[in-house]
Amino acid sequence: MSILDVNNVSKSFGGVKANVDISIKVNEGEIVGLIGPNGSGKTTLFNSIVGTHPIDNGSIKFQGEEISKLTVPTIAKLGLLRTFQQTRIYGKLNCVQNLLISYKPEKENINTMFSKIPKNLNDKAEKILEFVGLYQKRNLRAGDLSFGQQKLLELAMALMNEPKMLLLDEPTAGINPTLINGIIDRLIRINKEFGITLLVIEHNMKVVMQLAQKVFCIAHGQLLAEGNPDQIKNDKRVIDAYLGAQ
């Protein structure tokens, strides 16, 4: 069953056509990769999906529900969450607070707005920090963490939100090779144990091949190819546009 259904989505900024008729289908429980050269429109597609900007035409369905007209927080509330390429964390709050605020209360009303944060959330936050390996740093300001640790923190924040699907924008960019393996491990565990569907933008082909069951390749704003990692690796068009001839 498909959880995310992007149908013929186009988006242009003035004369620049960032996305042209892109269709992507992600099934529930899958890990899907999204690759393409710089400036090919991957992040624009992410922004379109989570409602950062309106799309020109096409439709985006999440769990069968049309979401292309909804606002960012509403889409996030449905359980479709994204992380950012440049990490975005709450720099002056400590790690635990970063997680506490990421928790999504069941109902958003005046009561939840002005109520204390439930005590048991603290424990949950610490467990998740332990999961991403930041437990020892939980009382430090998030802004004082290194870039890689901030990426892990952002992942932890996403987990705290208990999404159904995560859009990850280059989760391993700017991270050292050892930590990359740790992140891949965790992403696979997130997918298996928490049952979260993942759509991952990634440039590191090794990571994509290890993670994804299905890969989409975008170039010049158009969908170039789709298939399993091996098919993509051997696709002539993808090699020309992205991987480079050998």
Binding site: V50, V72, P73, T74, A76, K77, L81, R82, F84, R88, I89, Y90, G91, K92, L93, N94, Q97, L100, I101, S102, K104, P105, E108, T112, M113, F114, S115, K116, I117, E126, K127, E130, F131, G133, Y135, Q136, K137, R138, N139, L140, R141, G143, M157, N161, G182, D185, R186, R189
Partner: protein, 368 residues
Amino acid sequence: MKKDYLYLFVDFISKLTSKENKTYFFSGIILFLLLAPFIFSAYKVQLSFMLILILLAMTWDVQGGQMGYNTFGNILFFGVGMYLCASIQIGMFFPLAEWTESGGEKTFVHSTDQYFQGLFVGLIFAGLIPPIIAGLIGYGILGLRGHYFAICTLGLGIAAGELAGGIELIGAGQGMTTPPFPKGLGSLELRSQVFYFLCLALLVFTFITLRWLYSTRFGLVLNAIRDNEDKAEAMGIYTMRYKISGWMISAFFVGIAGGLVGNIVGYIEPIEVAFDGREMGVFMVLMTILGGKGTLWGPIIGATAFHIFKESFWSMFLGWQYVALGVLIIVIVIYFPEGIMGYLREKYPEKFGEAVDEKDRKAQVTLN
């Protein structure tokens, strides 16, 4: 860690405010504030102003510090509260237009009962109307971010001053007087005491409210908005609701404070007293930055230090006050960009609970 005097002082303060000593600490402060008008009886009005300044700094910090929206617009609620309170105090018993037209001549005299009834109702409305205004304006302009919001709010106070200067009913540019304290009741002494304790009650109420507010999810969301609003939205938080409610809460307290100040000063003028963005409006920003933005105690420390500095300079070196103020601003911005609290926090982070915990949590989740 070198143990210098500053460290010892911080250590002392943190012990003083720790869980077991908290009750004594707060009762000590309250006791001092209750006795202050009798100990420093010559400075009652000055002390009232200090309490008001602390309140303005604390409420400004809800936006400027906790939420990261630098507003110059809070002075609008101050002036509105001031005018509203005075107008209701007068309008409840006498024709307002004739009162302002008489320019403060005492043709109408409030009886003691009328005076306090008027003050009570006036303060209630001074608390109710400004939040509504904040809500309406906020809905329109809280979508602006960063400097754009600051500049937009800068216009609010000025516009309000000009508007108030054109309304005859409230005395236009000439201003209006507030009802004089009932003669039969006692001297000026009593008047200043009454208003001192009203200010104190309001400040305590503000402190308790904000302290509670910062301990809730609301407080955390305000901080999240400050640190990264896009992220907060992407995580499913409807930030607009929080921003508007935050501004309304500030407006509530600032409005009542305005009503009180109008009565303490006794004379309301649109640009110099009510919508005094040039002085009050800038002071509240300055005091908060001096003490430390985004902390509960920063604005209190900042406002107290600022008021003492300002008043002593005003009385000792008259004529140089604006020079001194300018120097103070430069010193704050260059040497204490994070304020007193921020400076201490940077110097002794472990006193603020920032530390690496070497112990590993008993691992429920194992990863290799």
